[in-house]
């Protein structure tokens, strides 16, 4: 993956930029020693690394504003960073950038149950937002697998989803308002505790803009009352196509499960070895979870089981206890870890129309043979968000490149059947160069025009999302002219 060459003009002024930053931040919030900046050299896409020129850890919106104003004046690119859990390289630095880490800003500012929202600083982790309202039986719905570590700032930047978004939506559907610092240091407030922000839906375009439009420091999030209960049913099939048909039939029946998860043989075996969840050994496994009171759960599950039976499942097991439910989910949630024990892996995130599922799985199988790399499939079947995990050996020369080419083929396949490159992880650097496969030049130009308005000098996370050649004329302007 190519990254723009660092600008020597900026590198030469490191000391000047550093001393200006030290005027507005405490010394322990500015990291400049190369031994220490190394801690920020990558996110969860660990195949790519590059230590930043500097890293800063502001404690409040004013400090964020001061940092951005200085970098704006100095023409220094800024890469915002939440918790660094991006799988797409969203927080990957360039050697001439300042990393702006939001981790120190993790306060809860306001909780309001009557109006069903919470206002937080965005360095707060996803799970600890729910943690702050759990006592009152409330929760924050988007639940990415990294929820223990990932920050709300990153969730907003990537418009993160999770296993339960079939019912509750993704970040953008649960975000009511923000305070955001623009690249020039000015602070804007958009939306609030009311449901619809007025005017153009700026909140909608900022959410998912991968930290390229501004640095969100505070967020007002919708919180929901926890359902009375939830329970999964496990079903195994001997054929992917049949499992896909079962998913479609469940959805058509009028039931809206809170989650429908799918795993194929390789993942089933890996997860079973790892978590001992009692998964059957079969071609396709579905975990379908429903919510409500005990009676409502029984009612929905009996309808779902009736549908599943029409598809000749090899296994059909309703969870009998909270313990068993937890075990079933532990297996699924440890899928990435379990695959990681087998080898290095690359995780993809393409989304497809649910009806194309059998065709796409068959084609992925064929590609796997062509490339000679095994692939496991685990994904959110209800909304077509796939997570193929390609196994490779990072120590074997050429394997990473082969894996990347395989991944690109899978993502192109997703686009070709009417889907998209990424459902919830974001484009980052990983899928940047594939954007032209999904979007025509005019479509990309329309998106880049939005960045032109928010960040005319293209200093915020500039080397992400758009193919480098498409954004070059905007990025590659001499510092003095910026």
């Amino acid at each position: 993956m190519e990254m723009p060459r660092p600008n020597p003009e900026i590198l030469a002024r490191k000391q000047a930029v550093l001393s200006r930053l030290l005027q507005v931040l405490p010394a322990d919030a500015v990291i400049h020693d190369p031994a220490e900046t190394r801690a920020y050299e990558c996110d969860a896409l660990t195949a790519y690394r590059c230590p930043p020129m500097l890293a800063v850890l502001p404690s409040n919106t004013q400090e964020v504003s001061d940092v951005l104003r200085i970098c704006h004046e100095e023409g220094v690119p800024v890469v915002p960073r939440g918790s660094g859990t991006s799988l797409a390289g969203g927080a990957l630095p360039t050697a001439d950038c300042v990393i702006l880490g939001i981790a120190r800003m993790n306060e809860v500012l306001e909780t309001d149950y009557d109006n069903r929202f919470i206002r937080v600083q965005t360095g707060r982790t996803n799970l600890s937002v729910t943690g702050a309202v759990e006592e009152e039986d409330f929760f924050y719905a988007p639940d990415p697998s990294s929820q223990l570590a990932c920050a709300i700032a990153g969730n907003i930047a990537m418009n993160s989803g999770g296993a339960h978004c079939l019912k509750y939506g993704v970040t953008t559907n649960n975000l009511l308002g923000i305070k955001m610092v623009m690249m020039d240091g000015s602070v804007v407030e958009i939306g609030g505790a009311h449901l619809d922000a007025g005017g153009l839906d700026l909140l909608g375009v900022i959410c998912g803009s991968e930290g390229q439009l501004g640095v969100v420091t505070e967020a007002t999030l919708r919180i929901l009352r926890k359902p009375e209960g939830a329970r999964p049913v496990l079903m195994g099939f001997d054929d992917n196509e049949v499992a896909g048909q079962c998913v479609s039939d469940i959805i058509k029946s009028g039931i809206l499960p809170v989650a429908i998860e799918f795993m194929d043989t390789l993942c089933i075996r890996a997860c079973e070895n790892f978590a001992h969840a009692g998964y059957p050994d079969c071609h396709a496994l579905l975990i379908v979870e429903v919510e409500g009171s005990e009676a409502e759960i029984n009612d929905q599950l009996s309808k779902i089981i009736e549908i599943a039976k029409r598809h000749n499942p090899v296994e059909l097991r309703e969870s009998q206890s909270a313990e068993e439910s937890a075990k079933i989910w532990l297996g699924r949630k440890s899928a990435f870890g379990a695959m990681g024990q087998m080898n290095d892996y690359m995780c993809l995130d393409g989304t497809i129309p649910v009806s194309s599922l059998p065709e796409v799985l068959r084609r992925i199988g064929e590609l796997s043979e062509e490339y000679g790399l095994p692939v496991g499939n685990v994904f959110h079947a209800g909304d077509g968000n796939m997570h193929p995990l390609i196994l490779f050996d990072a120590n074997k020369p050429g394997d990473l490149e082969k894996c990347e080419a395989f991944g690109a083929d899978i993502l192109k396949l997703c686009v070709d059947v009417g889907g998209c490159l990424t459902g919830e992880h974001g484009v980052g650097i990983e899928k940047r160069d594939l954007m032209s496969h999904q979007y025509a030049p005019a479509d990309l130009e329309a998106q880049m025009a939005v960045k032109d308005v928010f960040d005319p000098k293209w200093l915020l996370n500039p080397a992400k999302v758009f193919p480098l050649d498409a954004s070059e004329s905007r990025r590659d302007v001499p510092v003095a002219a910026k």
């Binding site: 039931i255 009171s293 998209c420």
Partner: protein, 366 residues
């Protein structure tokens, strides 16, 4: 001008020499230039996959045609778009493009989300006459910037929609509605909040001060609806008398379309606030007629013609939109809530980039 295809529409836009008003079904009372650009020629459902919960339609497709197609499969547009004809006294055929362009959402917005939350993809023609696509027809998509959201509720200020792709949902098997007798708006919002804080999945929470009833809707499978309605009665036992409404579907259609205001004189405003701020706002409005939806978060207010409602409210957190009022009032007060300097600069910057010649709905959105 009434093009029959997207390509023809793009050609017309590229050749525009003066501003136009974009018209879908012409039912939502958008003012503007005399010259019109109509989308009703771009009509028809292009794809409907009930098992994938997705529907794609050309922008000029009548909402009624889409609702009929969904009905046949036991599905619906869950955001419950309002029909403005009764309130505005307009005629014509509401189009799906108009619904999306105005981000029209009804009572179920509190539970299911707004129109923008169900919009998966768009095709539109920008101010230069270029056809642009964004999003797609899958439910999770973070590929590039979300211009889909930006187009929803942009009232044609950034482009002319030609095709929209929507997420649809199963239509509930059963509906029940409880009416709780309350003393005033304050007690009403308390009752609505209490219900919305419960785990019983309330999908409608409104209050009509005319009859003093706080209204709560639950939907789903029959047994579940019966159970949740009973549970809600217990939860709300501290409030006034609770009765079950006999024709809930018709009741909510009336609330959705603000039926109590139909045929009444005056301007109509729509105010979006934090629900618990609503009682105070209602008092400050000093008006004869209001209707509360979204648990109090949406206030409909009818005031004498030409009233500067925002001045009456003073500073408040939220926004007020003039939905019905003559051109003079709209020009003097602005149909939409004035924005802060920074936000206004962003809005104008986006308009400038999407429609540099300023040919779409000038004056409508900042």
């Amino acid at each position: 001008m009434k093009p029959e295809t997207e390509a023809e529409l793009a050609e017309i836009v590229a050749g525009l020499t003066e501003p136009v008003r974009i018209v879908g079904g012409g039912t939502r009372g958008v003012g503007g230039p005399e010259a019109t650009l109509e989308t009703s020629g771009l009509s028809g459902i292009t794809l409907y996959e009930p098992g994938a919960l997705t529907l794609v339609a050309q922008a000029g497709t009548p909402v009624a045609e889409i609702e009929a197609a969904l009905e046949a499969e036991g599905q619906q547009l869950a955001f419950e778009p309002m029909d403005h004809r009764g309130l505005l006294g307009t005629s014509g055929t509401p189009s799906i493009g108009g619904v999306v362009a105005a981000n029209i959402s009804g009572p179920r917005r509190i539970q299911a989300g707004a129109c923008r939350d169900f919009l998966l993809g768009v095709r539109y023609v920008d101010g230069m006459g270029q056809v642009i696509k964004n999003g797609g027809r899958v439910m999770k998509n973070v590929t590039g910037y979300d211009l889909v959201k930006l187009m929803a509720g942009s009232w044609g200020a950034l482009g002319v929609l030609t095709e929209v792709s929507l997420k649809v949902l199963p239509k509930p098997e059963a509906v029940a509605t409880l009416a709780v007798q309350v003393a005033d708006a304050e007690e009403a919002v308390q009752a609505l909040s209490t219900a919305l804080k419960s785990p019983f999945e309330v999908s409608g929470a409104a209050f009509d001060p005319q009859d003093g009833r706080a209204l709560l809707r639950v939907e789903g499978f029959s047994d579940s609806v019966a159970y949740r309605a009973e549970q809600l009665k217990t939860t709300l036992s501290g409030f006034g008398e609770i009765t079950e409404v006999s024709e809930p579907t018709e009741l909510w259609r009336g609330l959705r379309d603000v039926r109590p205001f139909h045929g009444q004189e005056g301007d109509v405003w729509r105010i979006s606030v934090k629900p618990t701020d609503a009682p105070d706002i209602v008092t400050r409005l000093e008006t004869d007629q209001t209707l509360l939806d979204w648990g109090g978060g949406l206030i409909w207010a009818r005031v004498p013609e030409g009233t500067d409602l925002r001045a009456r409210l003073g500073g408040f957190n939220g926004h007020a939109t003039l939905v019905r009022g003559d051109a003079e009032t709209a020009d003097a007060l602005g149909r939409f809530q004035p924005e802060s300097g920074e936000v206004q600069a962003l809005t104008q910057g986006l308009r400038q980039r999407f429609d540099p010649r300023g040919v779409f709905n000038p004056g409508l959105m900042g």
